[in-house]
Structure formats: C-alpha cells, structure tokens
C-alpha cells in the first residue's frame, strides 16, 4: 500500500483528533443525557422540558431522552433526579413543589439535594372572579372579604396545599386577614377549579394567566390582580397586587433545570452555559411566547438563593393554613 501525501495528512489529522479526545472527554456531555420530568406527559412542565430536550440534542449532538417519572405528587420524579449519579448526564426539571413536599411531610427531600443550573420559567399566580361578578377590582374584593365572616367566600384552583391555594392564603395574610377567611375548595389542578368559578360554584379562584387563558378568552372569568413584582407582558392591563392594594405579596409556580448535588463545579458551569444558549433559540422563544409562559434564565447561586427564599415562604404559608407536617 502506497501512502499519498493526502492520506498521511489525513492520518495525522485523525491522530491529532484522537489525541485531543481525552481532553474533550472531561467536557460535558459525555454520551447520552437523561432529562427527568417529575410530572405527566402532556402537561406544561412536560411541554417545556420536551422542547428544551429537543433543542439540547441538536446543540450538543448526543441523544437527550426525556423521561416522565410521575407519581407521589411529584416526589418520585424529584427523588429520581436527586438520586442519579452526579456526572452531569442526568438532569431534570425541579418545580415549586420541591419547597412544599417536605413541608407537607411527603418526603425529606428539599432543594439542597440538587446542583442548581438555572431557573427558566416562573408564572405568577393571579386572582380571578366570574365575569358576571360585582367586584370591579381587587380593592372591592378585599373590602368585601374584610367584612365577611370566615369561610363565607369559597375559593378554588388547586389541590389542598397546591401553589394556587398557597397564593390565595398568602394574599389574605398579606392583607392582614386570617387564611381561613376564604374556604378552600380543593380541585385537581387549575382547570377544574377555574371551570367551577365560571359555572358559579365558587366566588374566587387563583391560577396562572396561561392556565386561565381559555376561559378568559371565552369571556367567562376575569383577572383582578397578579401576584408579581411587576405587570406581565402577556396581560399589561392587569395590575399587580402590590400596586393595586399596597400590600407586598408575590407568588407563582416556577420551573428550573437542576442536576443531582455533587456535580463538579466546572462541569456545572459548562452545562449552565450550554443550556443558556439553548434557551436563546428562536424556536424555544416562540414556543414559550405562544403558550404564554414567562421566560428567564437565573443561574447558579442566584437560582439557589431563589429556591431557598421560595422554600421558606412556602413553609410559612403552609404552617399558616395548618397543612405543614410536625
């Protein structure tokens, strides 16, 4: 066999690239990535995770498998992320429930079991009334609640101890009322609770704006205020609770990307960087905008302190409504 110059050059290039391999092997990713979603296929968290998974796969060129590990009110999936080998090959979506599950006594697990990568979405809760209701604004509603006996008003929007329940209880406490001023009617998720509001079964309901979009579009319910620090792009006419009442209160569900605790800092930094780039993708941006999901990318230590604050606030509210485990 006679080697031409081109073949030799090619061989050398190959050799050089194989020599370079060990150096890149320490990089992330090292083979197939698993992205664990603690909630069911078809839901909002699943939809966002799947588009991130697809774009990540295109970006890094290794397969990204999205796994729905559902059950146990989120415990099973959140635990599966925390229990995975911290080599960066398993990541997952942590949601607000990581701050409520351990306060409810369902698990020992809390945010410290993870290496925080970045918070990519948080949708503030808003408070809604039936479109035919007499309450023109949040001030009117609060005044009526002030005068009403405990439990005369009924509210719905999530399970007992779910994010929308805590939003309503938190709002009442921020306005100086006891949490039991409004009796909570548990519902399986926001949709049935909002439908009950539209049908006249309850007087108020709390949910995020994307969750309420269909019934708002049909003209059956209307938002009075949103529990956020500033007005939202998707609903610029809805005042924040703070500007309308002067009481300081904000709460909403959030979704963040995490890895198990113990991932080497340089790998974590690299993961955060790559994921940050993925979230710039126009396909992702148009998906999130279309669904009405807010976008952000709060990384590393900032995300960790966000989870810590969220955890403490949720714990306080759960204790106030009497649901926290001893």
């Amino acid at each position: 066999m006679k080697l031409t110059k081109r073949q030799i050059m090619g061989g050398l290039a190959l050799l050089a690239s194989s020599l370079a391999l060990p150096a890149t092997a320490q990089d992330w990713p090292d083979g197939r990535i698993t992205l664990i979603v603690p909630w069911g296929a078809g839901g909002g968290t699943d939809a966002t995770a799947r588009i991130i998974g697809t774009l990540l796969q295109e970006r890094v060129g290794v397969p990204v498998a999205v796994e729905n590990r559902t059950g146990g009110s989120g415990v099973i999936g959140h635990a599966a992320i925390a229990d995975a080998t911290p080599d960066g090959q398993t990541i997952g979506v942590a949601t607000l429930e990581i701050g409520t599950m351990h306060n409810l006594g369902l698990t020992e697990l809390d945010y410290t079991a993870y290496t925080p990568l970045g918070l990519y979405n948080s949708d503030p809760a808003a408070i809604f009334v039936n479109a035919r209701s007499d309450f023109a604004d949040i001030g009117g509603l609060l005044a009526a609640l002030e005068d009403a006996p405990d439990r005369q008003f009924k509210g719905s929007g999530s399970a007992q101890g779910g994010v929308n329940h805590l939003a309503l209880a938190g709002m009442l406490m921020a306005a100086g009322m006891p949490a039991e001023r409004v009796a909570w009617v548990p519902s399986e998720g926001a949709a049935p609770g909002l439908q009950d509001l539209a049908a006249g079964g309850v007087e108020v309901a709390t949910a995020s704006l994307p969750e309420a979009a269909a019934l708002m579009g049909a003209g059956l319910i209307r938002p009075l205020a949103v529990f956020a620090s500033e007005r939202l792009d998707i609903a610029p006419d809805v005042p924040t609770f703070n500007e309308a009442t002067g009481h300081d209160f904000a709460l909403g569900s959030w979704r963040g990307l995490v890895a198990p605790a113990g991932v080497a800092p340089e790998i974590a930094a690299q993961m955060t960087e790559v994921l940050g780039e993925v979230l710039q993708d126009p396909q992702y941006v148009s998906f999130m905008t279309e669904r009405g999901y807010a976008m952000q990318w709060t990384t590393g230590a900032d995300f960790e302190s966000f989870m810590m604050t969220s955890d403490a606030a949720l714990g306080d509210t759960l204790r106030a409504v009497g649901l926290a485990a001893q």
């Binding site: 069911g40 296929a41 078809g42 839901g43 007992q160 399986e188 439908q195 009950d196 006249g200 309850v202």
Partner: protein, 499 residues
C-alpha cells in the same frame, strides 16, 4: 363549530392519518373477525402504540379499530356461529339461519351496510350534540357532576346483563380499587401500605388492560376452542344485490335502530352490546312478523346491526363532554386522552376544538370505510378464521405487558395488570360482570371528589346539592334509575301472587 371543521380538516387529511386509519382498520377487522377477541381488547392492545403518536392519530386509531371490530364480529357469527364480539350475540341466530338457507352473502351484505349507516348516524349526532352539550356543561359545578357520575354508576348496575346484586358487588369492588391512593381533597394517603407507586392510585390504563385482556387469554388456554374450517364466501360484490331495496323497505327499523343505539351509547355504562340487545328486542316487539326473529329475520338484522355501530359513536358524547365513559372502550380512550394532555371535559372544546372536531371527522371516515374494507374482510374471512387464538395469545400478552409498563415507565403497572386480570377472570367465571367494576375504577374518584367538593361549598349541608335546578333534574333521573327495577320487581311479584 364551522370554523372548527375548517381547522380540523388539515389535521385529518394527511398521508400520516391515511396510513394510521388504514392500518387500524386492518387491525380492527382482523381482531373482530377472530372469534372471541373483543373490540375492547383490540383497543387495550393499541394503548402502547398510541404513546408514540400525536393525540389526533392516537384517538383516530382507537376509533377506527373499534368501529371495524364491531362490524367484523358479524363475520364469524354468520359463518361459524361464534360471535366475534359480544355485540353480535343478539342476532347470531338470524345470521346463522340465513347462512343455512344459503343466503350468507345477503346476511353479510345487510350487516355491512346497516353497520355503516348506523355508525354514520351516531357520528353525526356526536358532531352536532357534543359541542352544544359542552357549552351547556360549562355551567356545571361539582353538584351537577356529582349527580352525573352517580347516574353513570347507577346505569352501569341497572342496565347490565345478569343479576343486579352481582353487578352491585362488582361495582363496589371497583370503587374500593378507586379509593386506593392519595385522597385528592385532603391529601391523605389511603391503602398504600407505604408504597410510593400506589400514592397516585391504581394506574387506570394497566387496570383496564388487565381486566379486559387477561381473562380472555386465560380462557384461550383453558378452553382451547377449535374453530371449524369454513368455505370461502365467493364473490363479495354479489352481497349487495337487493340490499338497497330491503334497506329502503326497513327504513323505519334502520332509523329506530340507529336512534336507540345512539341513546344507549350516550348513557354511561352501556355500550354497543347492550345497544344491539335492546334494539333487537324493540324491533321484535313492534314487528308484524315476530315469529321470524331468531330464525333469519332480515329486518331485525338491519335494526340491531345499525344499533351496535351507532352506540359506539354515542358513547363518545359523555366521554368527551364530561369525562364520563359511555362504554368500556371509551373508558380506555379517556385514559389515553389524559396521557395526551387532552383532558376530557367542556374545557377541551374551548382549548382544542379543532382536535376534537378532527376526532369526530375520523368517526365519519371510519364508518364510511366499513363498506369497501368490510368487503375485503369478508372475501378473506375463510383465511382469518383459520388463525388459532392460541398462536395469537403470546403476542397479545406481550402487548398487554408493554402497554401497562409504558404508561409511567414502571413495573408496578405490570403487577397491577396481572393481579386485576386474574381477579377479573375469577369474577367472570363466577357470573360477576366486570364492566361495573371498570366503571367503578374510572368514576369512583369523580363521584367522591365532586361529593366532597360540594359538601365543602355547602359547609357540610346535604341540602346544598339541591340548590341548582339542573342538579335537581339529574337527581330525579338518578331516582328513576334506582326505583324502576324495584317497581318492576314489585309488579312481577304481585302478578305472581294474584295468579
């Protein structure tokens, strides 16, 4: 409504959908034509495959398979006197009598056309009624839903075949299974024995797969039915000679059968088998020649064949609008819809009206396809009938295991499927109907949750259930369903005493 049809057409008229519909037609015709494999089992076997599909093709596959299977079950009923599914059992005597008279092509010709017409009738009712009902039901609170679910459970017990007491016990078993897992109102775990996999309750799709498929598999091994070989039917095109004239003469039967079938389908808990029994009985009652029934009555055949296919479409009305299954197939469909994020209820008509309309359009297409594809199936029937159920059994078991695993990627689904499957076999062998248990599993939480929700809203007062007019109306309906059998029993007893 009309804008939804325009949005829905691009979802239906694609090559992908054409392939899905054709493949599931072939599958449905095959399963329906093999004696003893039911349309529900065909649906259960489709579940793992639908996980890899978008929502509309997934439901389209189920709809097409079921429509084809219900029709195709008439083929073995006519040729070897074994109904392919329970829905053909009502008029099997007529089919077989016609076969012995050498009129088998005529019998199957009636079956093909009446099935297609009944199915199209039911689909049109579904397309028109469901969106209207959805708008009305946007005003339903937990009070109305409680009574609707209670009505469904009551109808499942009262309308079923066999003893009411056994149906009631079967229902209680289903409700017991449904109470396992986290109590949705207080968040307290019940009967989980500390197992996290039971915290969300007994997964419902594995339970359904097990309770429908496993008993049939066990019976395959226990009974070892031998199917006698059959001669080819001959030129299937000859089937249609004279059928047009017969259908025109029995247009009243055709309309009445489709109407009764649709209504039975809409009633929760009663599906195409009960639809065909009841419409066959009605047809006999009003016939001028009741003595012909069971001995080759062609008008009876027209009426019952139309009824069982229209019931199939009717069952989707409560399933889509309220999330309450109209029959056992829609019980599985509801499970698949939840997995696909198309949670059934009035909201889905607001958020995904185009997808719902696309699914309804598939009903029309599938029922139209019964005629050409049914011909093909009849022509090939002598080959299909030669397939031994025993050879299919391992394949079916494989599908069952894959289906119960894939629902949440955990082995607990397989355990649930097997345990409940064996239990369902024991129940059926002892004369307990399985359908009320299934409806108990599917609707138990619905009844409980709406009951507790209404109690919370009314501060614990039962009177709160009767505050709203529609709720009172539904409560009266429930009472009628409860009281009727008692009155009938009392009348019969009095008649016996005075005689």
């Amino acid at each position: 409504m009309l804008t939804h049809i325009a949005d829905a057409l691009p979802l239906v008229l694609t090559w992908h959908m054409a392939a899905v519909i054709l493949a599931s037609s072939a599958f449905g015709l095959f399963v329906g034509a093999v004696p003893g494999l039911s349309a529900t089992m065909a649906t259960a076997m489709l579940v793992p495959i639908t996980f890899f599909m978008d929502p509309v093709p997934a439901i389209a596959a189920i709809v097409t398979t079921a429509a084809m299977a219900i029709f195709a079950s008439d083929i073995p009923a006519a040729l070897v006197r074994i109904p392919g599914t329970a829905a053909s059992a009502a008029y099997i005597g007529d089919l077989n009598a016609l076969m012995r008279k050498g009129q088998v092509t005529r019998a199957l010709g009636i079956s093909v056309t009446a099935s297609a017409i009944g199915g199209i009738f039911g689909s049109l009712v579904l397309m028109v009624a469901a969106p209207q009902l959805a708008i009305i039901s946007l005003n339903f609170t937990s009070d109305e839903y409680f009574f609707l679910a209670l009505l469904g459970l009551s109808a499942a017990v009262m309308l079923g075949t066999g003893s009411i007491l056994k149906s009631l016990m079967s229902l209680a078993f289903g409700l017991m299974i449904a109470s396992i897992g986290m109590d949705t109102t207080s968040g307290y775990p019940r009967y989980t024995f500390g197992m996290t996999s039971l915290l969300d309750g007994v997964a419902f799709v594995p339970a359904l797969i097990g309770m429908f498929a496993i008993p049939e598999l066990i019976r395959t091994f226990v009974n070892r039915d031998v199917v006698a070989p059959v001669a080819p039917v001959g030129n299937p095109l000859r089937m249609f000679t004279g059928v047009g004239r017969l259908l025109w003469r029995s247009k009243v039967n055709l309309l009445r059968g489709s109407g009764i079938g649709t209504i039975i389908g809409i009633l929760p808990g009663a599906g195409s088998d009960i639809g065909s029994w009841i419409s066959y009985a009605v047809s006999k009652r009003f016939s001028k020649t009741p003595e012909e029934y069971g001995k080759g009555s062609q008008t009876g055949l027209v009426e019952a064949c139309a009824a069982n296919n229209s019931a199939l479409s009717g069952a989707y009305v409560p399933a889509m609008v309220f999330g309450i299954p109209g029959d056992s197939i829609t019980a599985i469909v509801i499970g698949v819809l939840y997995v696909k994020g198309l949670n059934p209820g009035p909201m889905v008509f607001l958020t995904s009206g185009d997808m719902i309309m696309a699914i309804f359009l598939v009903f029309l297409i599938a029922n139209l396809l019964i005629v050409p594809l049914g011909l093909l199936a009849i022509a090939l029937s002598s080959q299909v009938l030669r397939v031994s159920k025993l050879t299919l059994a391992p394949l079916i078991l494989g599908f069952c295991i894959a289906g119960s695993y894939s629902i949440d990627s955990s082995a607990s689904g397989i355990v649930i499927m097997l345990v409940l499957g064996v239990f369902a076999y024991l129940m059926e062998e002892n004369g307990f109907p399985v359908a009320p248990a299934i409806l108990g599993i599917v609707m138990g939480l619905l009844v409980e949750r709406n009951f507790v929700t209404s109690l919370i809203k009314a501060d614990g007062s039962i009177l709160g259930f009767f505050d709203r007019p529609i709720a009172v109306g539904l409560a009266c309906l429930v009472l009628v369903v409860w009281i009727t059998p008692v009155v009938l029993w009392w009348n019969r007893r009095r008649a016996r005493v005075s005689a």
